[in-house]
Amino acid sequence: MNLAGCLVLSGALFAVGVFGLLTRRNMIAALLSLELTVVAALINFVAFARFGAASATNVAGGDAHAGSIFVFFAVAATAAEMALALALVIALRRRRQSLDITDLDGLHG
C-alpha cells in the first residue's frame, strides 16, 4: 500500500459517508454515515503518519507519531459527539415517534 492508495480509500469512504448523510431518511443511518466520514479522516491521518512527507523527508520538527496520537483524541471527541447525538435521538423518539430527518422541517422560512 502506498500513500496514494490510502488517500483513495479515505476519499471513497468520505464520499460514501457524505452520500449516506444526504440520502438516508433515518436519523440513526445519518449518524452512521457521519461516522464513516470520521473514519475516513482517521485513515488519512495514519496514512500520512506512515507514508507522509514527515517520515520520508524527515523534515526537521516533523514527527510521524503526531498523526497516530491525533487519532486517539479524534476518536474520543467523536465518541462524545455520538453519545450526545444518540441522546438527541432518544429525545426525538420520545417526542415524535419517527426518526425521519425530512420531518424535521417545523422551523423554516
Partner: protein, 496 residues
C-alpha cells in the same frame, strides 16, 4: 523550556484551569442545593466567572507571552478570553429569569446545573481554541466549544422546536467537525507536523497554493468547518432554524459567544500560520463576505419572526467581520484589533437587543409585531432598542460605526474598494430592515383603536423593569454610546 509548574506558566494557564474547575463545580451544585437550585447555581457560576475575569486581568504576563507544548498565552489571546468570559457572564445573567415559571411562553427551563455547566464547558473550549499552538489543541478546543451548544439548544424537551433545532444543529455540526478532521489530516500531511510553526514554514515555502494540493484541500475544508461556526455563506443555512428553536439565552450565546469563538478561531488560523501572501484567500474571504452580507440582508428584509431576524442579522454581521481577513500581508495586528473591538461592540448591541426581546417575550410571541407600542409600554426599553438597532446598523456616534469603520479600514489597506462600497451599501440597506423593528416600537397603538380595529392582541400592560433590569439597561445604553465616542477601550485593545 519553562516547566509546567514554573510561575509564568502557572500564571498564564490559571484562568483556564479555574474555568474548568468552575464548570465541574457548577455541574455538581445541583446535588448540594435542593431548593432554589437555579438561583444558587447561577450565583456560583457568576461568582466563578467574575473570579476568572479578575484572574485574566490581574495575572502578570511577560510581553512575549508564555508557550508550552501545544498551548500558548499572549496578551492578545487574553483579550479574546476576556471577550468569551464576558459573553458567558452576560448569557448567565440573561438566562436566570428563564428558570422561573411563566417567564416565557415557551415554558420554563429545567435543570440549571446542566445548563450552566454546559455553558462553562463551552467557554473552556473557546479558551483552549484561542490559545492553541498546534492543530491538536485547536481541534480539541473547537470540539469542546461546539458540542455543549448542541445540548444547550435541545434543553427544552417540552418545546418541539428545541428538539428539532438541536438535532439539526447536531447533524450539521457533526458534518462540520468531520470536515475539520479531514482538513487537519491534509494539513498534517502537507506540513508533516501538527505545530503551527511547521505549518507556517510549509505554507510560505511552496511557490503557489495550487502547487500544494494537500495544503489547499486542508485550508478549504478547515475554512468550511469554521465557516459553519461563523454562519457565513454558504454554510449559514442552519442558523435561522437553530436561533429560532433554541431557548432565548442560548440564542443569545450563539449569536455572541459562539460567533466570537468562530472569529477567534479563524483569526488564530488564517491570520496566524496560513496568512501568507501566496495564499490568495483574501479574494475568497471577500466573496464570502459579500455573499453573507447579501444573504443576511435579504433574509432579514421580509422576516417577521424576531429570532430568525436576529439570525439573518448575525449572518450579515459575520459578513462585515469577514472583511478583516482580506487585509493581506502585514494586516494581522490591525485585523485583530478591528475584530476584537467589533465583537465587543456587536456583543453589547446584541445583548441589549436580547434584553428587550426577553422582556417583550414574557407576554407575547417573539415576533416583530409584538414590539408594537413598546414606546408606550416602556419608553426606556424603546430607547434602548433604538440605541442597539442604530449601533447594529453602524450609525455614528454609536459604537457600531467605529467597529465597522475599523473593519473597512483593514480591507481598504489592501485596496478592496469595491468590497467597501458593497459593505457600505449593506449598511444602508440594513437601516431599512432594522428600522422595521423601531417602526413597530413607535407605532401608535391609538390608530389601531381609532381605526375601529379591535385592540391589538397584545394587552397594553406597561413593562416594569426590576432594579437589576434597570441597571443592566442603563449600563448597556451607556456602553453603546461611550464605546462609540471614547477611544479608551480601543486604545486598550490596540495596546495588547
Amino acid at each position: 523550556m519553562s516547566t509546567p509548574f514554573s510561575t509564568p506558566f502557572l500564571s498564564a494557564f490559571l484562568p483556564d484551569l479555574a474555568l474548568l474547575v468552575l464548570a465541574l463545580v457548577v455541574l455538581t451544585t445541583e446535588i448540594v442545593f435542593r431548593k432554589h437550585q437555579a438561583r444558587w447555581t447561577a450565583r456560583v457560576a457568576v461568582a466563578g466567572l467574575a473570579a476568572v475575569l479578575i484572574l485574566l486581568a490581574a495575572l502578570p504576563l511577560p510581553s512575549g507571552g508564555v508557550a508550552y507544548a501545544g498551548y500558548q498565552v499572549t496578551r492578545s489571546v487574553v483579550v479574546w478570553k476576556q471577550l468569551f468570559a464576558l459573553a458567558t457572564l452576560a448569557t448567565i445573567l440573561l438566562s436566570r429569569s428563564y428558570f422561573r415559571n411563566g417567564h416565557s411562553l415557551r415554558g420554563a427551563l429545567a435543570n440549571p446545573g446542566a445548563f450552566y455547566g454546559l455553558l462553562l464547558f463551552s467557554t473552556t473550549g473557546m479558551f483552549a481554541l484561542v490559545s492553541a499552538r498546534d492543530l491538536l489543541t485547536f481541534y480539541i478546543g473547537l470540539e469542546l466549544a461546539t458540542l455543549p451548544l448542541y445540548a444547550l439548544t435541545a434543553l427544552q424537551p417540552r418545546n418541539a422546536g428545541s428538539i428539532e433545532a438541536g438535532s439539526k444543529y447536531m447533524l450539521m455540526g457533526a458534518f462540520a467537525s468531520a470536515l475539520s478532521l479531514f482538513g487537519i489530516s491534509f494539513l498534517y500531511g502537507a506540513a508533516g507536523s501538527l505545530g503551527f510553526d511547521a505549518l507556517a514554514k510549509v505554507a510560505s515555502a511552496q511557490p503557489s497554493l495550487s502547487a500544494q494540493p494537500f495544503l489547499l484541500a486542508g485550508v478549504l475544508m478547515l475554512l468550511g468547518s469554521l465557516g459553519f461556526k461563523l454562519a457565513m455563506v454558504p454554510f449559514q443555512m442552519w442558523a435561522p432554524d437553530v436561533y429560532e428553536g433554541a431557548p432565548t439565552a442560548v440564542t443569545a450565546f450563539l449569536s455572541t459567544g459562539s460567533k466570537a469563538a468562530a472569529v477567534a478561531a479563524t483569526t488564530t488560523l488564517f491570520l496566524g500560520p496560513l496568512n501568507l501572501p501566496r495564499i490568495d484567500l483574501g479574494a475568497i474571504f471577500a466573496l464570502a463576505a459579500v455573499l453573507s452580507l447579501l444573504a443576511g440582508t435579504l433574509g432579514a428584509m421580509r422576516q417577521s419572526n424576531l429570532r430568525r431576524f436576529i439570525a439573518y442579522s448575525s449572518i450579515a454581521q459575520a459578513g462585515y467581520m469577514l472583511m478583516a481577513f482580506t487585509g493581506g500581508e502585514g494586516s494581522e495586528a490591525a485585523a485583530r484589533i478591528a475584530l476584537q473591538y467589533n465583537l465587543l461592540v456587536y456583543g453589547t448591541a446584541s445583548f441589549a437587543l436580547f434584553f428587550v426581546v426577553s422582556l417583550v417575550g414574557r407576554s407575547a410571541p417573539e415576533t416583530i409585531p409584538s414590539l408594537r407600542g413598546l414606546s408606550a409600554r416602556s419608553p426606556a426599553l424603546a430607547a434602548l432598542l433604538a440605541l442597539s438597532l442604530f449601533s447594529l446598523i453602524g450609525i455614528p456616534p454609536l459604537a457600531g460605526f467605529l467597529g465597522k469603520f475599523l473593519l473597512f479600514a483593514v480591507a481598504a489597506r489592501n485596496g478592496h474598494y469595491t468590497l467597501i462600497f458593497i459593505g457600505a451599501l449593506a449598511v444602508a440597506l440594513s437601516f431599512y430592515y432594522y428600522m422595521r423593528l423601531l417602526k413597530e416600537a413607535y407605532q401608535p397603538v391609538q390608530t389601531a383603536e381609532n381605526r375601529g380595529a379591535p385592540a391589538s392582541a397584545v394587552p397594553l400592560s406597561p413593562i416594569r423593569l426590576s432594579l437589576a433590569g434597570k441597571c443592566a439597561a442603563a449600563l448597556l445604553a451607556i456602553l453603546l454610546v461611550v464605546l462609540g465616542t471614547c477611544p479608551g477601550m480601543l486604545n486598550f485593545i490596540a495596546s495588547r
